[in-house]
Amino acid sequence: MRAHHDMGGEPAGSVELTEHDYSLWEKRTDALLMLLSDQKRQLLRVDQLRRAIEQLGPDAYDRMSYYERWIASITQNMLERGVFTAEELGRKMAAVEAGLASERKAGS
């Protein structure tokens, strides 16, 4: 059976000629891949990025935006390599979210 990402030749709707200016988090995600895969670091190859994206499952693959898939894959690869742990990630995400909440509170 064909994998979900292997869509060449499948029926699909008309091409929506959409474009958007990438936001900072998207550009940062893009930059992280470049840096993690460079000669100095060699922590992630493009095929490894793709492997984790293709393992997201059809539902998530379609629902997530492009750079959402990228950051999910980069994170998965870094966890697998032990660059940081799931606990560290969970703590950091909670801190980022709390920081945003207090910024919003201060701003309102």
Binding site: H5, D6, M7, G8, G9, E10, P11, A12, G13, S14, V15, E16, L17, T18, E19, H20, Y22, S23, W25, E26, K27, R28, T29, D30, A31, L32, M34, L35, L36, R41, L43, D47, R50, I53, D62, R63, M64, S65, Y66, Y67, E68, I71, A72, I74, T75, M78, V83, F84, A86, E88, L89, G90, K92, M93, A94, A95, V96, E97, L100, R104
Partner: protein, 218 residues
């Protein structure tokens, strides 16, 4: 983005126990789950000494500096310098390097449009794109509709971009890979004899180098 962004009905369950609705990628919205993840990973990689904020900033600026104008410079040079064109068609990466465009280890294959054949570039499996020459890809290039249909009904896809080719013209579709990227060398527009490369470059659009359009008329 071209993917469906009506995420209102979906809550993503994650292992730390609470759900976050995913929101669209607009700066004026509260951050969604993956945007929070992106910030967290960015900060963790700096804390672990894997990278620095300056390196990330420099990488973003370098990528922002890669725009279709670079590709237009390559095309205009090929239109005005037959020896360069021959080198470009023989080895795209090496010819781009002559103009200061570094493809890294990626192989760039340049395909030439002629009166008999038109070329179109896609990446059916993901979103491989000649980023070093054209910058980040447009959303539609990464969309399911474009990736699925470009290889089966290229003429219908081209028509959606407003590009209609003669029926007797061959259409060649090139499916990119991570290691091999394609760039279309569009046909030089009529009535541009004697134009400088700089003037010609203004006629070369991003879409003409992907092959969904032709170069602008003179």
């Amino acid at each position: 983005m071209s993917h469906t962004h009506d995420h209102g009905d979906h809550d993503h369950e994650h292992d730390h126990g609470h759900a976050h609705p995913v929101r669209i990628d607009h700066d004026d919205r509260p951050l969604g789950y993956y945007q929070i993840m992106a910030t967290a990973v960015f900060e963790l990689l700096i804390e672990k000494g894997v990278t620095t904020a300056d390196e990330v900033r420099a990488a973003i600026e370098a990528m922002d500096g890669r725009t279709p104008e670079q590709g237009a410079r390559v095309v205009a040079r090929a239109w005005t310098d037959p020896a360069f064109k021959a080198r470009l068609l023989a080895d795209g990466s090496a010819a781009c390097r002559e103009l200061g465009i570094d493809m890294g280890v990626t192989r760039l294959v340049v395909v030439e449009n002629t009166t008999e054949a038109h070329n179109l570039v896609v990446c059916t499996l993901c979103s491989c794109y000649p980023r070093a020459v054209l910058g980040r890809p447009p959303d539609w290039y990464k969309s399911r509709a474009y990736r699925s249909r470009a290889v089966r009904e290229p003429r219908a896809v081209l028509a959606e971009f407003g590009t209609r080719l003669p029926n007797d013209m061959t259409v060649r579709v090139h499916d990119s890979t991570a290691d091999m990227r394609y760039l279309v060398l569009p046909r030089r527009p009529a009535s541009t004899e004697g134009w400088s490369a700089e003037r010609l470059a203004a006629l070369v659009t991003r879409d003409s180098m992907i092959g969904v359009a032709v170069a602008k008329p003179a």
